[in-house]
Amino acid sequence: MITLYPKRLFKVPVEAECICPDVFAEKSAKEIATLQIWEGNRKRTLGDLFKIKHETDSPTEEFTIRICGDVSKVRKIGAKMSMGNIIVEGDADMHLGEEMKGGIITVTGNADSWTGSMMKNGTIEIKGNAGDYIGASYRGSTQGMSGGKIIIHGNAGYEVGCFMRKGLIKVHGDIGRFAGIHMRDGTIFIQGNSEGRAGAQMINGKIVVCGYIPSILPTFTIDDIRPKVKVNEENVEGPFYRFVGDLADGGDGKLFVSKTKNPHLSSYEEYL
């Protein structure tokens, strides 16, 4: 196991794509210290900014990187990783686990925007809140998250799962507007409330809102009332209104909204 301790508080963005089990594996602490990272427009080595401690792994344990201290300005931690674990004890900055292909990232604090963007497999677990564009695509691309799991125990921001293609995003808290915009497939489960416009321009996939949602987009049509809904092999008890859309884009996505938490949507029942 490698443990990283930031040597000081970072003020300008630090980009550390190299903090990744695939890069660290089979390297000594000395070699790791020479890996190149960016602090603003200055090239630095990992050893300039972090104290690196190498502990011998038990042969059964997966390769693990632990980061202790404030890395809320360190971007791209665990980008493109395919194995092992990363544990961030504190907050992480943007692009955490971008394009990851496997392994597990755990953040005990908050994560920023573009967490798990374009990820293909693996698991990201955030104990605190997350920013915007979770599991989304790069600007201008239509290739969002295409597999894996993102679990957020706190709240999440806007446009979560933008252009998502497969996989699961689970938010235990509340979520901002435009959850699942342009979604192609996959599942977004929201335990708390939604700010609205869920499923805008979605083509396929499933969004489940267990809390309150102010309104449903006019481009969705009611389809059914379901007693429960299946989320990744788990049954969630309802009842749920099931809407289909987004019809403006010829979509066939399913939007499940709790019936008990949203009495203002009862007017839709007359169309059933």
Binding site: V12, N41, R42, S113, R139, F178, A248, D249
Partner: protein, 479 residues
């Protein structure tokens, strides 16, 4: 006394090119053809301006030589690890080109004022694509004009007169006579109401019920104008039909129009405060036009939904093109904000919010856009040109901006120049310096030099070139 004709107006995105100026002894004494905004700039531009470069010493801004100011500015930029270079929309393309070079040299972030106006439109255009045109085409052919969340009567005063409703096109006639008769009707009604109230001592015309059905003129075969806005504006008064949308509900309304144009039924009786029957009638007018244009303003890009509102508008235009010819254009604010986007794009591949910190251009608005960088307090120096962010940015961003070394290049005295550490007074481009700018429809037009600037006020291009030269020299010495 000389009369200079064919002058372009360096104020709004309409960028009128038919201005005539009367010049006497290096002073503009009269302006013809310009709107109130343009005339005010041409006549009063030199009233409040700095004439000498200023450098902050012991907390005070003191006059300095141009070389001293250039040296100080270059030192600030060379020492910075994450500088931002912001503004650009009110200067010439030639200056912007040097600005991109300077940003690459210092490894900074370059951003223009699109980031606070039509940046979301750019993001949507990259996602969806745009069916656009030049304004000349609209002047001659457009028979249905939508102004969505914009108020050209006040913000682009000659837009309606030059390119849309009141312009005399080859195939579409001007609608100003209809407007005048409608205005006459409104005025008589107001006069009648005032007289009746005086005589009867009560309001006999108690607030009339808002007529929501489409007027007869909307179904006639002639030029029509529709305004969609959250409030009744001067543009809305001039329109054939005004569709009032609930604040922050534009996305729903646009998506509902898309549904109706696809012949789908809506499960609701009203959208964004507008009954569905009215939407159906407006959708019929849209489908029935010969050439429609949707101009959208900052009301769409900076209200709830931002780029997704524009997504919906662009998609609506795309859908309409399966029935008729329909186009869309953002109402750009500053006279060269389009040019800033164009120059950034041909130099770097990206239109705004470009990060050169790794030596090559990277782009991710939200991460590399100036307001977000400032709100997270990541920049450690800044160069502001032809813009006034201290007055216009969110409080937190402005606070973080002035905390760090700040270089301002501006002909006028603004809150930004007052808070700066180095101030360069520049020549007014389009009045005292020539250059090139892009109109809102991406047509490049020349900016003319009409009068000589004061000797100490250099053009933006020259100031930037001097800073760039000094930066290169300092970096060579460092290495």
């Amino acid at each position: 006394m000389t009369v200079v004709t064919g002058v372009t107006c360096p104020v709004c995105g309409t960028f009128c090119d038919d201005i005539e100026l009367v010049v006497k002894d290096n002073v503009i004494t009269d302006v013809r053809n310009a709107c109130a905004m343009g005339a005010a700039k041409f006549l009063n531009y030199s009233t409040h301006r700095n004439l000498r470069p200023l450098v902050r010493k012991n907390g005070e801004l003191v006059e300095a030589s141009i070389d001293e100011a250039v040296k100080r500015a270059a030192e600030i930029l060379v020492d910075a690890t994450y500088p931002i270079l912001y503004g650009w929309s009110n200067t010439s393309c030639e200056a912007i080109r040097v600005g991109v070079e300077l940003t690459e040299e210092v490894g900074g972030v370059i951003d223009n004022t699109s980031t606070v106006c039509h940046g979301p439109s750019v993001l949507s255009i990259q996602d969806v694509g745009i069916a656009s045109c030049t304004l000349g085409q609209l002047r001659h052919r457009a028979d249905l004009i939508f102004y969505w969340a914009s108020n050209p009567w006040s913000a682009h005063p000659r837009h309606i007169e030059r390119y849309t409703m009141f312009s005399e096109g080859r195939f579409q006639k001007s609608a100003w006579r209809g407007y005048l008769s409608r205005l006459g009707g409104i005025m008589s009604r107001k006069r009648l109401r005032r007289a009746a109230n005086l005589v009867l001592r009560r309001d006999v015309f108690a607030t009339p019920e808002v007529e929501r059905r489409l007027p007869y003129s909307m179904f006639q075969k002639k030029r029509k104008m529709v305004v969609v806005d959250v409030r009744n504006t001067r543009t809305a008064e001039a329109a054939d039909y005004f569709l009032q949308v609930e604040p922050n509900k534009d996305y729903e309304l646009l998506q509902a129009f898309r549904m109706l144009i696809r012949d789908e039924e809506l499960d609701v009786s009203e959208v964004a405060g507008v009954p569905v029957e009215i939407l159906e009638e407006v959708a019929d007018v849209m489908v029935g036009c010969e050439l429609g244009i949707l101009f959208f303003g900052v009301g769409l890009t900076m209200s709830e939904g931002k780029l997704r509102n524009v997504d919906a508008a662009l998609n609506l235009t795309r859908d309409l093109n399966s029935h008729t010819k329909f186009l869309i254009m953002p109402m750009r604010g500053h006279f060269n904000v389009t040019g800033a986007d164009v120059v950034f794009a041909w130099q770097t591949g990206y239109p705004y919010a470009i990060d050169f910190s790794h030596g090559y251009p990277r782009y991710n608005p939200g991460e590399t856009s100036v307001i977000d960088i400032l709100c997270r307090d990541e920049a450690d120096a800044s160069l502001i040109i032809a813009s006034d962010p201290v007055a216009h940015f969110p409080q937190k961003a402005a606070q973080n901006l002035v905390k760090k070394p700040l270089i301002a290049i501006d002909p006028e005295v603004t809150p930004t120049t007052l808070m700066a550490d180095v101030v360069f007074p520049s020549a007014f481009v389009g009045i005292e310096a020539h250059g090139t700018a892009y109109r809102m429809d991406h047509v490049p037009l020349p900016l003319k030099k009409i009068v000589e600037p004061p000797k100490t006020c250099l053009p933006d291009t020259e100031i930037l070139q001097r800073i760039l030269h000094k930066v290169r020299k300092l970096r060579r010495e460092q290495n």
